[in-house]
Symmetry: C2
Subunit: 123 residues, 2 copies
C-alpha cells in the first residue's frame, strides 16, 4: 500500500511515517517510481510504534526494541526489560516531582483562601 493509505489506517500523519522511516522504525520498499510500498503488516508496526511513543519512549529507544522484537518474532523480548525498567523509574520520579509541586500549589492556594477569610470579605 502507499503511504497515504497507511496514514489513513493508522492515524499517523504522512509526515510522521516518513519520520519513523528516517529513524529506522519502518523500512518500506521503494517502487520504480520512488513511491514507498508498505506491506500490510506495516499497520501493526505503526500501531506498535504509537503505543511505544505513548509510553514515553523515544524513537531511538523504540528502534532498539523493534530490532529485538523482529529477531524474536515475539513482543515479549528480554532486551526491552531494562528499557522498561528505566522508563518506569523515570516515570516514578516524574510522579514524585509532580506530587511535590502539587503539594506546594495546594499549600499556596490554602494560604490565599485563609488570608481571604481572615481579612474579611464584608464589602
Amino acid at each position: 500500500m502507499n503511504i497515504g493509505e497507511l496514514s489513513s489506517l493508522t492515524g499517523a500523519s504522512i509526515r510522521s511515517l516518513r519520520y519513523y522511516e528516517q529513524k529506522g522504525l519502518l523500512s518500506p520498499f521503494r517502487k520504480d517510481n520512488g513511491y514507498r510500498e508498505y506491506a500490510p503488516f506495516a499497520v501493526e508496526q505503526v500501531r506498535s510504534i504509537q503505543l511505544y511513543l505513548n509510553l514515553g519512549l523515544s524513537t531511538d529507544e523504540i528502534a532498539g526494541i523493534l530490532q529485538c522484537v523482529l529477531k524474536n518474532k515475539e513482543a515479549f523480548c528480554e532486551e526491552v526489560l531494562p528499557i522498561y525498567r528505566q522508563k518506569l523509574q523515570d516515570i516514578d520520579e516524574q510522579i514524585e516531582l509532580l506530587t511535590n509541586i502539587r503539594q506546594n500549589l495546594t499549600d499556596r492556594i490554602d494560604a490565599i483562601l485563609l488570608e481571604r477569610s481572615i481579612s474579611g470579605q464584608e464589602e
Copy 2:
C-alpha cells in the same frame, strides 16, 4: 548591584536574568554606561521567579502574578488563584496520565517476567 553579583547570589545564570527582563519579570535600572543596576530586593524577586518556574508556570504566567503581587505588596494575591487552580488541574492530569502509563509499563514487565518463567530458565 551588577548582573554578575545578582547571578552569584541567586544561582540564576546571567543569560537567564537577561531573559527574565526581556519577559518583563525584572526591570533593573540602567546606568550611564549601559550596565544593568539591580536593587537589593532583586534577589528576592529572582528567588520568587525561580520558585514559580519550579511550579511549572511559564514566564508569561509569572509576569501576570508578579504584576499583581507588586500592586498588592503581598504574596497572597487573589488574582493568582485561577492560575494556581489551572496549574493544579494540569498537574493532576499529568499525574493521572503518568499513572496510566506506569500501569501499562508494569503490565508489560510482568508479562515478560511471566513469559520468562514459563519458557523456563533451566540453562
